[in-house]
């Protein structure tokens, strides 16, 4: 198991370095940075000065390692648009996005695992169809619509939760429900399919033959095997989660990374975008690593790989 984790860790490091190269190239590929920094109508002389001050006249490889060294120390450069430190900008907002993402994921799993299991046990029945409809609705309903509907009902009419802002945990409830429901369908489908397969396996029949109570057969013997692909999906769903959080954070004026990413794209604020892309990719790498480790714990056959 330890060897397996070390192997995965090494692999994750290689991927992270590759990602950093791409994130670095992203900024260079967007055009001449010195020209962009100097702004419109700058003289060639002032552009040359900027180029020298920011070290943009050095070889690209040198620039990369200088940049990597800066990033490793938490220095992501200056935002073109906000004219402030990118690191400060991001770290002020990343907490909100992490809370939103974590809460949404928790809601999605809390919905999809029991519902998926239920749909699988009663597959083909009315219960199965109702669960499938509920998850289809989550997929079909745009999150801006659900978000606005929730604001109408729970913020304006019932006044249970605030409609916008980032003041306390109450601010996160409606956005997390919106985003959680949005990412539920793929999890639900995977749990359902995995459970239908698992319930038809020989080892579940063996567990039944042993006379174990139904809930032990379902939740111990079948679910453990059905969860392996679900854990893998968590990492993959990060993209959907981030895409969704851009919309959801905008609706609820939640001051997070998704909203910042949206702004940096519209203002061509490349240093911010570069930092966001890098952080997201690293989060992806870390989540993949975690899901590999969790899966190795769930399914011992993977440990040999």
């Amino acid at each position: 198991m330890l060897i397996y984790i070390l192997k995965r860790l090494g692999l994750a490091l290689i991927v992270a370095l590759t990602v950093s190269v791409i994130a670095f190239a992203l900024l260079r590929a967007s055009g001449d940075i010195a020209t962009a920094l100097a702004g419109e109508g700058a003289t060639p002389e002032s552009i040359a000065v900027i180029r020298q001050t920011y070290g943009l006249d050095r070889p690209v490889v040198v620039q990369y390692f200088a940049w990597l060294w800066d990033v490793a120390r938490g220095d992501f450069g200056q935002s073109f648009f906000f004219r402030t430190d990118v690191a400060g900008l991001i770290f002020g907002k990343i907490g909100n996005t992490l809370i939103l993402g974590g809460a949404s994921l928790a809601i999605a799993l809390a919905l999809s695992i029991p519902l998926g299991v239920l749909a699988a046990i009663y597959s083909g029945s009315m219960i199965d169809r109702a669960v499938t409809m509920f998850s289809l609705l989550g997929q079909a309903l745009p999150s801006f619509f659900l978000g606005l509907a929730l604001i109408m009902i729970f913020a304006i009419r019932l006044r249970w939760f605030p409609a916008s802002g980032t003041d306390g945990w109450r601010n996160f409830v409606l956005p997390a429900v919106t985003l959680g429901y949005y990412i539920t369908p793929p999890f639900m489908r995977l749990v359902r399919a995995g459970m239908i397969d698992a319930l038809n396996t020989d080892y579940v029949r063996t567990a039944r033959a042993k006379g174990l109570p139904a809930r032990r057969v379902v939740f111990k013997h079948a679910l453990r095997n059905a969860l392996v692909p679900v854990v893998g999906l968590v990492a993959v769903q990060l993209g959907l989660l981030m895409g969704g959080s851009v919309v959801v954070e905008s609706i609820f004026a939640l001051d997070g990374l998704g909203y910042l990413a949206y702004q940096s794209i519209s203002y061509r604020d490349f240093p911010v975008l570069q930092a966001v892309v890098l952080l997201l990719s690293l989060a992806y790498v870390v989540l993949t690593l975690l899901s590999d480790i969790i899966n190795a714990w769930l399914d011992p056959r993977l440990r040999a790989a």
Binding site: T201, D202, Y203, V204, R205, T206, A207, R208, A209, K210, G211, L212, P213, R216, H221, R224, N225, L298, D299, P300, R301
Partner: protein, 321 residues
């Protein structure tokens, strides 16, 4: 015959399929005495596996079971609450595919102690001791370290031994074995069969062995039930079936066994021409008549059951016809 351990009367299994209701088991009755080995034989699709699954209440969801009587030691197995208490405790089952019958996510030990702790109780340490003891009993060395292994670390033969050990954890009186050696290679088959035989003598276990392999049956059976197209066509002691097979189907099955000294070297192995009929809808008369060399027009009518003591067969022909 002793007071039967298991009594089955008019057991039926129906499956809903797209082309109609498939009657997989068509009203069969038999008894199993304590400590005896009953072999249920027949070709694929004759309903023998469905019979075994029906006894353990493990039928697939599309299947419906009905019976006038299924009792185990006098207790009504058709009542779910009673069946739940007996299954996995006093009656256990092993399956054809040892490669997939164990859960890949849990250690052998974990899977072995599970039913014991649930049915019998006691501490985990006691259950682990019992598991190690059972592994040794089925011929698995260094049992303690095996308990920590996962199924994928064991060979097929070992896994089937583990399945047997696991089934015997709760000291059951009846073991249902559905084609337990079919998926294994020949040398391992012989070992597993010998093991079952030894365990039966040691533990006084009754065994229902489901198989298509009459060669296997000849080495272990006390009594034999021959099934064809969902019904029992002949039943008797091993001696009666092998020495005086009465039903043409039984004789055809026996003729398919290659015998050292008798079967000519290089001669083609015996086969029964034709296939098992579809089991959808009613079956009038003898289901075997299309493949039977002795078939007569009256085989399409109701066929009487003929008896000679413990030997019964369902055919118009007499014992040695």
């Amino acid at each position: 015959m002793l007071k039967p351990l298991l009594s089955v009367r008019d057991l039926r299994v129906d499956l809903n399929t797209r082309s109609g209701v498939l009657h997989a088991v068509r009203g069969i009755s038999f008894d199993v005495a304590p400590g005896e080995t009953l072999c249920i034989v027949g070709e694929s699709g004759c309903g023998k596996s469905m019979t075994s699954l029906a006894l353990m209440d493990l039928l697939p969801r599309v299947a419906r079971r009905s019976a006038d009587e299924i009792t185990f030691d006098g207790q009504d197995l058709t009542r779910r609450r009673i069946a739940g208490k007996l299954r996995g405790r006093r009656m256990a089952m092993i399956f054809q595919e040892p490669m997939t019958a164990l859960n890949p996510a849990f250690t052998i030990g974990d899977q072995m102690v599970e039913a014991y702790l649930y049915h019998v109780g006691g501490t985990r340490a006691q259950a682990v001791d019992r598991a190690a003891q059972m592994l040794e009993k089925v011929g698995i060395g260094s049992a303690r370290s095996r308990l920590g292994q996962y199924p994928h670390q064991l060979s097929g033969g070992l896994r089937q031994r583990v399945m047997i050990a696991m089934a015997l954890m709760t000291d059951p009186e009846l073991l249902i074995a559905d084609e337990p050696t079919t998926a294994l290679d020949v040398t391992i088959q012989a070992q597993i069969l010998r093991l079952l035989k030894d365990l039966q003598q040691e533990l006084g276990l009754a065994i229902i062995l489901i198989t298509h392999d009459l060669g296997l049956v000849s080495r272990i059976a006390d009594r034999i039930v021959v099934m064809y197209a969902g019904a029992i066509v002949e039943e008797g002691t091993a001696a009666e079936i092998f020495d005086r097979p009465a039903h043409p189907y039984t004789r055809a099955l026996i003729d398919c066994i290659p015998q050292p000294g008798k079967t000519e070297r290089g001669a083609p192995l015996g086969t029964i021409p034709g296939v098992v009929p579809l089991l959808i809808g009613r079956q009038d008369g003898c289901a075997f008549r299309d493949r039977c060399s002795l078939a007569q027009p009256r085989c399409a009518d109701d066929i009487p059951t003929q008896d000679a003591g413990s030997h019964h067969w369902v055919c118009i022909h007499g014992g040695q016809a």
